[in-house]
């Protein structure tokens, strides 16, 4: 607070009221206690001149900590430090913007030495760093303590107001007037009640003294804002509690049921659609040049496991609980769990093929069977023949030793190795390599391999007639599955902040005190904001009372403090 009060002060006012240490204006009559009677500066009206809680002559450790957080100056330092700290985090992208990087090398590679220093200083995760969180915690502490320390004295001061104020209190308001009036004190005051009421004031009189007040609630605005902010910060903190928060990015190949880990839910992407704007929907300048996406949509169905859950040796029993067409701004939502459209991949993924076993010499077909890429059957029959599946390779390749291996678990270049038994075949069976994809068949020379394995006179082939024999998952939709049970509290906090802002900024607490005596009217008026509006209101009130006072002439000196 501005100015240090002298160490020993007589806190008893001339009106007889005993004030606590730190009081600026007498709690009863408003007489300024701290500076000389001859000063004409406008009064310091914060908290109506009451002593703040934390002002004590002899502070201990707890008082010191309390006073530290109770200081607005400290609060402003905290705000400015947080402001500067947050800007640091925007110099380079934060680690959290990437899904798969190794930050210890990425920053150096991408941004050179500056990036390396940035990473080493820990600025690549500014907003999760201990010092940033500490700043936020200190702001939270300051919010609580500052508010508590001020709202209680202010409440007391405003709920016990004296109507008759000391003359010095009135003349040293920023809006003040002293002028001669002809009428008697009580007549003038009773005449003044009506016009003030019309202006929306609550009016109280005490003989020749009057107090008019309106929109006191606006004074609580800042404290409501602070309460809202505290709730907001606590809610953000609560999001981290176990069980209240879940955040996963999952792949959903079209048509496949996928378990959502850590839940009893399963989700199927029944169909994923990407739409682009047609040429006629685009401005002329873009036609034929730009491709703009119009829609990403995943038709999703959510299932809940009802029995045999969590035991991988059994098939879970599922019940459909929700379905929704998930779009970018329109997630699927079920009991607090939400699935957001996040990304997509239009690469088709082979799921199964249904080849026919044919006699390449005669063209005779022995029938077909379905060959799944994942968990296939191990033996098939086609006509008189049985095919035993011996090996499968999802992405066919050769190891350093020249043995066939799979290079990845994804069916990019699948290959299957069968042993076929039946009429006119060797007793041990005929080995047969099968590449379902035409490209692979040529690339890996399926025929040459089989000729070598089966020898002369080989006559059986596996063939896929047309596309009906191929089952692919056309695309994969990536969804972001989240649970955030603390969100309602975040919104409540934000709502309270808004309420406080509106109350505090769009209304102003206005008070007019006046006393009439010895043929003189002394008027003082105070507001917490918008002096211009107050002066206009006082001037128009005085006009109704037949006193001509220009708005400007009401102004009393320059800036307080």
């Amino acid at each position: 607070m501005s100015g240090n009060p002298p160490l020993i002060v007589n806190t008893k006012c001339e009106c007889g009221h005993q004030n606590p240490v730190g009081t600026v204006l007498c709690e009863a009559c408003g007489n300024p206690l701290l500076d000389g009677a001859d000063s004409a500066r406008p009064l310091e009206m914060r908290y109506d001149g009451k002593a703040r809680r934390s002002q004590k002559t002899n502070p201990g450790v707890i008082d010191r900590v309390w006073n530290f957080f109770s200081s607005v100056k400290i609060a402003i330092y905290l705000i400015v430090l947080t402001l500067l700290g947050s800007t640091l985090g925007t110099v380079f992208p934060q680690e959290s913007t990437f899904l798969h990087i190794d930050p210890s090398t990425y920053y150096k590679q991408r941004y050179g030495t500056a990036g390396d220093i940035y990473y080493r200083l820990g600025l690549s995760h500014t907003y999760e760093s201990w010092w940033f969180i500490t700043l936020l915690v200190m702001i939270g502490a300051s919010l609580v303590i500052c508010s508590l320390d001020r709202v209680l004295p202010l409440y007391k001061a405003l709920s016990r107001q004296q109507i008759r104020k000391h003359r010095r209190f009135l003349t040293r308001q920023r809006v003040a007037l002293a002028t001669k009036v002809a009428e008697g004190p009580e007549d003038w005051v009773s005449k003044a009640v009506q016009p003030l009421k019309k202006q929306g004031y609550r009016v109280m009189t005490d003989g020749g003294a009057l107090l008019a007040e309106k929109h006191r609630f606006s004074r609580w605005g800042p404290y409501i804002i602070h309460i809202g902010l505290i709730i907001f910060l606590l809610a953000v903190l609560a999001r981290g509690l176990p069980g209240l928060h879940m955040d996963q990015h999952l792949a959903f190949p079209q048509g496949e049921i996928v378990h959502i880990p850590d839940t009893s839910y399963y989700l199927v992407n029944e169909r994923f659609t990407v739409e682009f704007y047609k040429d006629e929907e685009m401005p002329e300048e873009f036609r034929g040049k730009k491709v703009l996406p119009k829609l990403y949509e995943t038709k999703a169905v959510l299932y809940e496991c009802t029995a045999d859950c969590g035991d991988p040796s059994r098939e879970p029993k599922l019940a459909k609980v929700a379905s929704h067409a998930i779009q970018v701004n329109d997630p699927l939502s079920y009991k607090g769990m939400k699935a957001y459209q996040f990304d997509y991949d239009l690469t088709p993924v082979l799921r199964s093929v249904t080849p026919k076993l044919v006699n390449s010499a005669t063209g005779e077909s022995y029938g077909s069977f379905k060959l799944e890429m994942k968990n296939p059957q191990r033996s098939f029959t086609a006509g008189p023949y049985t095919l035993e599946l011996k090996e499968k390779y999802m992405e066919f390749g050769l190891s350093e030793e020249g043995k066939p291996i799979s290079k990845s678990p994804y069916p990019n270049e699948p290959a299957f190795f069968f042993l076929i038994k039946g009429p006119k075949l060797p007793a041990g069976g005929e080995p047969y390599f099968y590449f379902p994809k035409q490209n692979d068949k040529a690339e890996f020379q399926q025929d040459a391999i089989n000729d070598k394995l089966g020898g002369q006179g080989r006559f059986l082939e596996l063939e896929v007639g047309d596309m009906s024999g191929v089952d692919v998952s056309e695309s994969t939709s990536y969804l972001n599955v989240r649970v955030d049970r603390a969100m309602p509290f975040v919104w409540v906090g934000a709502g309270i902040v808004m309420l406080g802002l509106v109350l505090g900024f769009y209304w102003q607490h206005r008070r007019i005190w006046l006393t009439v005596g010895e043929g003189e009217l002394t008027l003082g008026a105070h507001t917490n904001k918008n002096w211009y509006g107050l002066r206009r209101e006082v001037s128009s009130f005085l006009k109704k009372m037949d006193i001509n006072a220009d708005e400007k002439s009401l102004e009393n000196g320059g800036d307080p403090a």
Binding site: V258, H259, P261, I405
Partner: protein, 174 residues
Amino acid sequence: MGKARRPVQIMILVLIVLLGGYAVGTTAFGGDGKPKEGGRAPSFELLGLDGKTHSLDEYQGRPVVLNFWGSWCAPCVKEMPALEAQWEKWKAHGVIVVGINVGEDQMTVQNFVNGVGVSFPVLMDQDREAVRSYGISPLPTTFFITAKGTIDTIHIGQLDLGTLDAQIGKLVNR
């Protein structure tokens, strides 16, 4: 607040310290949710090649070597014989080696196990749930878990016989 002022002040300050400590502790030092050395090993329930469901709990009281592997991953394939040898050597001491296959189907895993001659239990994580809870990114990754269920060491990359032996020895002597 009147006379109750001091207790109220103390209560508020204590609350701020507790909540603040929690906030700084969880966000700044809590990490990314991946298990760390010294932390508890996350539990799992996975289907074994034997057709039964296995969980980490059933190995409680025994040191566990948890190896995440895939048949397509060359270093995984290369370290398999070392794992098998150590399994044979240490199983009398109560050590159990568990292989968790990442994302492949039963046929692939079975063929691989038969081909290489693995005799320790192998589990299949087709939906990659254990992969997620253990925060695995490159393969192979091996977790050395004490008899009490805490993670002693995490080894990323191929293991050789010597390291493996030393690690298991350390685990047994705990």
